[in-house]
Amino acid sequence: MNERPASSASPRPVAPQHRPGSDVPFFTVMGGLGGSYVLLIVAMLAADLAFTSPRHFTAALSKPEIQYAVRLTLISCTISAILSVWVATPLGYLLSRFSFRGRWLIDTIIDIPVVLPPLVIGLSLLILFHLPLGGSNLEEQVQKYLGVKITYAEPAVVLAQFAVACAFAVQTMRVTFDQIDTRAEQVALTLGCRRSQAFLQIALPQAWRGVVAALTIAWARSLGEFGPILVFAGATRMRTEVLSTTVFLELSVGQLEPAVAVSLLMVLAAMLVLGVVRLVGVKVAQ
């Protein structure tokens, strides 16, 4: 057999010249599929805008009931979002860092508000506060000892929003801590930290983006909450009416224009708050 000397000729290509082809189809398909959802949202908002007019906005906003609903919405969403993060941060940390017996059960329990129809959350809250307990119930006990009425009052709005929003905040915080390497906390322990110090001085400062994200998600979920509020807090004008119930109340009496105006107001409020929170979050993280 004749073997060609290695240096006798220029190397022959092992395969025909490869032409990778265009990336245009890739971006067309990916962009087309992803863009269709963006388009749907934009189309819905555009239709709302086309349907309403500045006159409808002014008319809707001049109503004292709607002004009250705007105020209650902003306040209740902010309180429930802060409460959610306050609870979600330790819970997310514990679930992320420690394995213990029964963790799967806690995981499952936390996911219940996420998968349950919101109306059922409201109903369950209502039953929880009015279930007879030794001749009394939780509602009466709270009123007796804290002097606060919960059901069909403003606290019920916050509690209904919190019950759902917190589950989303926990998920966010858990993922956040999962993504933070535990090694730095371990080193902190060898340097003399207690667990609490390692959490507060090492883990939490790294979790800022997650805290901001959890706050944003909890606020947005609270803004969109309707079912539990309707069942647990009712839809009393100038009392427990938030913007989502305003849309329902206006629609139920055939007032489509104010309903759309309020819907757009909610979109604006959401975009404004989400934008500001994200901006603050990015600045803090930097």
Partner: protein, 240 residues
């Protein structure tokens, strides 16, 4: 002094059984061994980050087996350094001293001393993101030494460094160890590093610790841990 007395450690499906080791006070010990043998597991057990299922761990003649990591007073530099992303270099050097509620003067003096020894004075106000490999190693070392531990554990601290930086850091480690009389357990894959630093050579192979003479490092076997042969003797005591 570091002593492992028939220690067993279990981590998921991986485990080490009846591991024993003694590193005398003021000794620079180098541990070598192939990947996945359990070197880091042993170091973590000494630091208190991994529970032992059996046996005792003694640091400076005290049984610290059940002690929390914070109470053991061991300086630890993990393989990935694990610097604190939200702190400055100064923050790293001050961290352990603040925990010990040292006075401002003591903290300032110690930070200045460490920064000078480690050559990181110019970096003190910088955050750790963006530091070079060598700079990061120095910061991690400074953080571990800040509270003047008597025992220091280094888990492959000089990997991913160029040769010049590695040589410089080896000299630095040796100087600090001599000056402060530290007991150091240093894990490495590098024969060169071991040659420069080791006063005691320990090899982990097949779940067993072997103490080998330093001359073992001079055999021409290329870089990497010495290969086991019949002449090797176990460090650990066998169960009676």
């Amino acid at each position: 002094m570091i002593e492992l007395d028939q220690v067993s450690i279990r981590s998921g499906s991986f485990g080490l059984t009846n591991v024993s080791l003694t590193i005398p006070e003021g000794t620079y010990a180098v541990m070598m061994g192939g990947t996945g043998q359990g070197k880091t597991t042993i170091l973590e057990a000494i630091c208190g980050l991994r529970p032992v299922t059996q046996g005792r761990i003694l640091v400076n003649h005290l049984d610290v087996t059940q002690w929390k990591p914070a109470a053991r007073g061991i300086g630890y530099v993990p393989q990935d350094l694990a610097l604190f992303p939200t702190l400055t270099v100064r923050g790293h050097l001050e961290f352990a001293l603040r925990l010990r509620r040292c006075s401002r003067k003591v903290i300032q003096d110690r930070v200045a001393e460490l920064a000078h020894v480690l050559g990181i004075e110019a970096l003190l106000e910088r955050r750790v993101r963006g530091l070079s490999g060598g700079e990061s190693q120095r910061v991690a070392l400074g953080r571990a030494l800040s509270f003047r531990p008597r025992v220091v554990i280094l888990d492959e601290p000089l990997t991913a460094l160029d040769e010049t930086t590695r040589d410089r850091l080896c000299d630095l480690l040796r100087t600090i160890q001599k000056n402060e009389g530290l007991t150091i357990l240093h894990v490495t894959h590098s024969r060169t590093e071991a040659q420069r630093l080791a006063e005691q050579l320990i090899v982990l192979k097949g779940g067993r610790l072997y103490e080998r003479p330093l001359t073992e490092l001079e055999r021409p076997q290329g870089d990497g841990e010495p290969a086991a042969d019949a002449s090797w003797t176990l460090v650990e005591r066998t169960e009676s």
